[in-house]
Symmetry: C2
Subunit: 206 residues, 2 copies
């Protein structure tokens, strides 16, 4: 049973993939430089990318569609392979990943813009949450569940894993997203992890 050939043979000059990349790259650069979403214009993007405006509209119906593709194109530094040597080591890697994302201007600027746009553009936020945030949080949930199995995390905390994820990510996220002048030095992840593991109160057994 042979249906109609959906992959119709394209006629005429094919689209130059490099042009599309160039546009996306320009959008990400502008965002990383601090341009808020609201200040981005199709005209400015085309100008900045050295591309005809019609060429941009040929690929994207409008700014929202373009931003959606730009959002997906941010190469989120994925969480690397966990060493697995200990729960603490794995947690350090996870927190260190957040630190590196904070240093990547593209990633953090995109996040800030999404937070601001969230109420105004729920669909964009939904896609961002689904594509980026949910994935990151799911990885952390798995890590924490493993920690409970290993006995490295108090088991009763497993009843609210979401809170646990907030607790683990919060400190480093606040550092990166909020006061952007705060130092993000090398050993930071380890210090944060030790706080997460042991808290700030003195050892009760002491």
């Amino acid at each position: 049973m042979s249906g109609p050939d959906t992959t119709a043979v394209p006629r005429g000059r094919p689209r130059d993939a490099a042009v599309g990349h160039k546009v996306i790259e320009t959008v990400l650069r502008l965002i990383a430089e601090g341009t808020p979403f609201g200040d981005l214009t199709m005209e400015g993007i085309a100008r900045e990318a050295g591309v005809g405006k019609a060429t941009v509209y040929r690929r994207w119906a409008g700014k929202d569609a373009l931003l959606l593709d730009a959002m997906v194109a941010v190469d989120n530094p994925a969480m690397p392979e966990l060493p697995g040597t200990s729960f603490r080591d794995d947690l350090v890697v996870a927190v260190e990943t957040i630190r590196r994302r904070g240093l990547a201007k593209r990633d953090s600027a995109m996040l800030r813009n999404m937070l601001t746009q969230a109420q105004n553009n729920p669909e964009l936020w939904r896609r961002y949450h689904e594509t980026v945030i949910a994935t990151r949080r799911a990885a952390l949930r798995r890590l924490l569940e493993r920690g409970i199995e290993l006995g490295a995390v108090r088991p009763e905390l497993g009843s609210d894993l979401e809170l646990l994820v907030d607790f683990v990510t919060g400190p480093m996220l606040v550092r990166t997203a909020f006061h952007q002048d705060a130092p993000l030095d090398e050993g930071l992840a380890e210090r944060v992890v030790d706080l997460i593991l042991d808290g700030i109160a003195p050892d009760p057994a002491e």
Copy 2:
């Protein structure tokens, strides 16, 4: 020595203070409803406030000046009197204050917008940081220092109070600012504080 009367007698019809309030109120409402800074226009604000555009310009030189005043006008739910019954109780009040700010749309929306604008409008960010953020963090630093004195916080952590503030505020801030659908129920602050105090690792003495 009598200098010139600086409080010159005003002539003509005096300005209506209610008009200024109405404009500020409108700005805060629009921001709380999710309008990003970039989408705010002097024209739209005047229209929405039912006020002549010239009247707005009579009071503020431009959008930045207006936003500056609007920012200051957000009634930040200040940290209430600390009970002082115990360090933990005080910490719960502090974290609870962050939760209540997160529930106040004006406050959280303003924060999100400031974060996005930070790179683009450093002066506005500086003022916001100075007026709002620095004050809040200073109060927390004092609380934590008192905790060290009381022996409720391990003294060696006092070497990096800023990190400690991030650690204490991070979890609740992430919850309020990031995924705005997360539950912010009543007992949340206490649970967060217990995590902050004891960490997630099992009691080593056990």
